[in-house]
Subunit: 408 residues, 2 copies
């Protein structure tokens, strides 16, 4: 008899965004004339930059000619892209990486979801709360947790509450945790971790022989010069941290699909009897066995982000989104909302007024302003009473949305 | 202390193709003037067909304009592609599928590798031997096996020998197995399963409440009209089988990346206490949580395979490869080799002469004819004494390779 992986049966409800989609569709069907503005899911709206389009076309043309056609590429990605990433995203910040430490992939969702596979089931997982649900759900599926409770918290996971009091950057816990998910600039709160805060985490991981999975998908949105872009800017991090980067938000690749994961050679995990195992070759084995690399034209298109022209064009898109963030942040503050984020991240995290529940606020906003946001509770119990607005929308739509919210 | 998934430490040597690559590179370095012809890895060599290129460009242009730009798509793929697949690949063979039963992905390697995740660790896995190593390695990683022996066989996996005596299509075993990997047309042997043989498997799976993972990546290469293209042509298969399809070999997408998996609504697995669980929503949950869909321009390019023009162009590429297969097959038979496959599949499976070991034959062929093939033993113990040649090469190279082998 074929048995199912019963861990899947522990999962609570649907994934957050499908539920938002369901409520939004239901409202739209009931009110076909309503012009709904979507500031919910963090999806980009600007088209791919001209330099990216040009390179994409060129690579497609290469696929049309026998001498330049490319079949299977290296599963871990083409070296031309890994080198461009190293030289442009890391070296200028004093971080040296080798191409063998870079794994190009089709998305940070896949990478942050898959990475837990290579670690033991006995590890204790820590997440910040609120949190990107993928970190938790994939650990539930793997069997690293007990059942979930009514708030959506799973037994065995250590939740570190992010609150205005700790600037949404909790300190390492007293207890032992082994696999730590950190995301800065943070989704959903828009908070960043200072150098001091990250150093505390790196020191904790070194002392406790833990590993940090550092999701830096939003690093391109950092505007304040003192904020670290990579965890490897912290001394010793190469021994304890894996970092995720993505072209999704930085270059508008949410529908084009390209990302990467850094696994330094120094990174070690351990067998039950304490033997050191180098993690990089294990991830390499996982990727070469279960993955076949990213589409060549997509990798060629991604590499253009690092040319002079590409950099300028991508930067102007990021500036556009960050100006949206500023507009949302200042308008909401002006209306009397308590708002966080939006300075180094494309997300605004607002406190719901009068302690209204965050799904209730979702429904209010949808029904009264025809604006879709993301209820904080969808990201974890500490997100209750908060609400996420994304700055990735169209400027005009955002201005309309703000006018409608003001009228509410 | 962070522990590693110790199942990874059970894995034998590297993945087959990296080892072939290593030996080939070493030979090339020692003999820089040798013109090596690669008939090893099953990688296509013809460029993407003109209709595919045209659609690819068109979709890239859509990504350049705000009104047609696409961000996140459905994780399970665009319905336009799922519908094209159903209407062209399945309906003409009498198989009805709903779009919700199709999951578009970036490769059958990923899908065949990931699918085991949703089943319990206590299932007994059966594979044909020789076999595509991904089926086994991913089960080793998950912890469904004991250690491997010197032949590369893992404790707990049931290996079903494929031999000339059983036409490389073993019958279901006497014992209970729960998760069965079948691949027809077969990689590496080039064999096909008759309707009768497949019916035996479907009946077995229904009787034993097992699930068949049916890899049909090479179905487009079938030339004999009586051979089934889909396991769903067998009555009752919808209740017990998942099927994998790929654009890699059929349309030259090895470097472009697109594939799909069919999970029928009727398919059930069971909890330990015997409760029925529908598999489709579980795989949907897995994909929406750990995957973000295939690049939109790639899906648009894949859909063109089903237009009149696309069909004709893709068919002519397949015919080209199958003419290569015929040339290899007849030439080798003429030289006195025992050859199998190459009629409904782009692989020729030859018996090594005089009982020579298959890695030894690999080295001989490389050193004496400068031809790279794939040693049968790399696919499992029953592959020892056999050797795989791929028909995906360039016609001229194949003719040169055959002339050189004749001289050996």
């Amino acid at each position: 008899m074929i048995t199912i992986n019963e861990n899947y049966l522990k999962l609570k409800a649907g994934y957050l965004f499908p539920e938002i989609g369901r409520r939004t569709r239901a409202f739209q069907e009931a009110h076909p004339d309503a012009h709904i503005i979507r500031l919910g899911i963090g999806d980009v709206t600007l088209p791919l930059a001209p330099a990216i389009i040009e390179a994409f076309h060129k690579a497609v043309d290469e696929m049309a000619q026998k001498p330049t056609f490319r079949g299977y590429g290296p599963e871990q990605g083409y070296e031309f892209l890994a080198r461009a990433v190293i030289e442009n995203d890391f070296q200028p910040r004093g971080v040296e990486l080798a191409p063998e430490e870079i794994f190009i992939s089709d998305g940070s969702k896949c990478d942050t979801g898959n990475l837990q596979e290579i670690f033991g089931l006995d590890n204790t997982v820590a997440v910040t709360d609120p949190v990107y649900p993928v970190y938790i759900d994939t650990n539930v599926m793997a069997g690293r947790t007990g059942p979930g409770d009514e708030q959506g918290c799973y037994e065995g996971i250590v939740y570190l509450a992010c609150t205005p009091q700790n600037n949404f950057t909790p300190a390492p816990p007293e207890q032992q945790v082994d696999l730590i998910y950190l995301c800065y600039p943070n989704n959903p709160t828009g908070a960043v971790a200072t150098r001091v805060a990250l150093r505390e985490w790196v020191d904790y991981a070194r002392r406790r022989r833990a590993i940090i999975l550092f999701d830096a998908a939003y690093e391109a949105f950092i505007t304040e010069p003192e904020v670290p872009h990579s965890i490897y800017e912290i001394p010793g991090a190469r021994e304890v941290a894996i970092e995720f980067r993505s072209f999704s938000k930085m270059a508008g690749f949410t529908g084009t699909r390209c990302a990467l994961t850094v696994v330094p050679q120094e990174l070690k995990a351990f067998t039950a009897d304490g033997r050191e195992i180098q993690v990089n070759p294990i991830w390499h084995r996982r990727q070469t066995t279960k993955f076949n690399g990213v589409s060549y034209p997509v990798q060629a298109a991604a590499a253009v982000v690092y040319t002079e022209e590409g950099k300028k064009q991508v930067r102007s898109q990021i500036d556009y989104y960050m100006e949206n963030a500023r507009l949302i942040r200042t308008a909401l503050a002006d209306m009397g909302y308590r708002v966080y984020g939006g300075v180094n991240a494309p997300y605004i995290w607002l406190q719901t007024p009068d302690g209204v529940g965050s799904w209730q606020f979702f429904d209010q906003l949808l029904q009264q302003a025809h604006v879709v946001g993301t209820p904080g509770a969808g990201f974890g119990p500490a997100g209750e009473g908060f609400f996420r607005l994304s700055a990735f929308g169209d400027r005009e739509n955002i201005q309309t949305a703000l006018t409608r919210i003001r009228k509410m």
